[in-house]
Symmetry: C2
Subunit: 348 residues, 2 copies
């Protein structure tokens, strides 16, 4: 069935090694020889067996990307960018989703599906530092997103506090003063929305404004529905914010929907700023002002980090300590920008 090196070797009347040399483009092969082998390869339709190659080399050429939820376009778009970035290094991407649950995140980080992978890019939500401390995988791990741990793994993210402050400052600059925050998660100590919430609070305080908890609306998740629910609850509580800063675009869009239902106009009555810059935000009836992280750079850096460590034999590039978990992790900051659209500037 399968054509192996051996078959090609026999056909060409040379040794296996020679065929291997040709396949791997080694120098020091006579053009004639090379040609002869090439022909045999074509005739037999030989294709190298990557599994075997990788068993031998100890690498598979596959890196895994685990995100909370593919249904969130931010992660879908990011995944696309990672696939492309990986392809540039001749790596293939295995995609997994965790639903943002700690259990699944631990499983993934421990190599649940990972015995076949060379490295892992993980975007955690509920994962705690301790969950990673005992990690005995030699596959390099790179962490993405808001959560930061003091652990020997590279961490790639935008400056979430600064980004949140930028968003709030924009709103303040528009003359808004009762700015709500949608999308806090208060169910655990190291809450994921931590930094953006802090940015919101800090900027308000810096402006001499109060940042009351009554303006903070927690959500159970990060989808449209969660934003809608949170917005409705906030309104029902009697609050009358003149602006909303949402944890992400989906929450913002869900909130805008409720605002419209209640007869509040965006941005006239309530200005709205999201986070992520998903395509969807550009095409609503009222397009969404948002914080736009540089997804492509995030993807590129994440893949580069994995590839670097792989080349270094699993060590952190900077210092030469051994093992995928040794050394200090780097904090890689990616740029972001505020994209102003109708939800803060519009005629509505």
């Amino acid at each position: 069935m399968t054509v192996s090196l051996k078959d090609v070797a026999e056909r060409a009347g040379v040794s296996i090694k020679t065929v291997s040399n040709v396949v791997n483009n080694y120098r020091h092969v006579t053009p004639a020889m090379r040609e002869r082998v090439r022909r045999a390869i074509d005739e037999l339709g030989y294709r190298p067996n990557l599994t075997a190659r990788h068993l031998r080399k100890g690498r598979t050429g596959i890196i895994a990307l685990a995100v909370p939820e593919l249904g969130n376009p931010y992660f879908a778009e990011l995944a696309g960018a990672v696939i492309d970035a990986a392809a540039a290094h001749e790596y293939t991407v295995l995609l997994d989703h965790t639903g943002g649950s700690r259990e699944r995140e631990i499983l993934v980080s421990q190599g649940f599906r990972a015995q076949v992978i060379d490295g892992l890019i993980l975007s955690p939500i509920e994962l705690e530092a301790e969950d990673l401390r005992g990690r005995d995988q030699d596959a390099p791990l790179v962490l993405l997103g808001e959560r930061a741990y003091d652990l020997p793994y590279d961490h790639i993210a935008i400056d979430n506090v600064a980004a949140a402050r930028t968003a709030v400052r924009h709103l303040l600059g528009l003359g808004r003063s009762r700015i709500a925050f949608l999308g806090a998660r208060t169910d655990r100590i190291n809450e994921p929305s931590h930094l953006r919430l802090r940015g919101w609070r800090t900027e308000l305080t810096a402006a001499g404004l109060p940042a009351p908890d009554t303006l903070v609306a927690p959500t159970g998740g990060w989808g449209h529905a969660d934003g809608a629910t949170a917005m409705a609850r906030l309104l029902d509580s009697g609050e009358r914010p003149d602006a909303v800063f949402a944890y992400n675009d989906l929450i913002a869009i869900g909130a805008m929907r409720v605002l419209a239902e209640r007869g509040l106009r965006v941005p006239r009555d309530v200005a709205v700023v999201g986070f992520d810059d998903v395509t969807e935000g550009r095409y609503g009836t009222v397009s969404l002002t948002t914080i736009s992280p540089d997804k492509h750079t995030i993807a590129r850096l994440a893949v580069a980090s994995v590839v670097e460590r792989l080349r270094a034999g699993g060590a952190v590039p900077e210092d030469a300590e051994a093992g995928g978990g040794a050394g200090r992790g780097r904090e890689l900051r990616v740029s972001f920008r505020l994209v102003e659209r109708e939800s803060t500037r519009g005629g509505g």
Copy 2:
């Protein structure tokens, strides 16, 4: 570094075979023996090397899913469903995107990244039957989506003509008669939007209405921007449709945006129906009526098809012909339903 079967065997003082038996849960192993081996495994932290196992068994446990574009939430949501469906069979999913280009689709179908995969689920756009005819891969292939080929591969899709007719009938039932179709692709013979366009035409004709080409707006792609552009062009041409049936939700949403900009109200002036039922459609200022394909069933059937053929040694299950490409492909129809929302029913 890595702990192998051999290490465990030595530690437990038994042969490799015995350890293997324990790991693979074979019967005929004394409980005592099993216990002894288990302990050695735990002590050493042994984890089976899948690459080696798969080299031996000729399977990798990975199936690939190739979609046009992850940025389109339909495919992102579908990908999530496929990952889950595959997990139920203990398969992992390798994700790739083709951008809908024929070249990339051919590459993928020929196993561009596929030497590591056991099977492939492909959602083609531009691929032609001839591109698949010479496929010499033994990895089972399953095709998804609107394009149908008379080839020995299972094809899973909803009845696109019937779905389109359902959408148009709904619009007709609302008293609309000038129903535009947005999202035709006219740049190739076997155009991807073929079936939905045909459904539109057929239903109009059946109702005794004209289906003029002037009401058909081609698009270059399938995103929001394409829908917006097409809608604008249609309006600029002087057409005044009282309803729009779009190739997909993204196009519909892009169109609604333009409609709003032009001061046309949905659904009062123009009713809109999309296709795909992406989450986004539920949360616009005007929620979108759409055709909702059963994504989970599509995912489940696709994975099941691959797994079946794999079990059958690559043959099409029904008949016993050999080879991944032998036999007739099955046409698997998945159900869909019309979800009525504000873009056709609403108060707007």
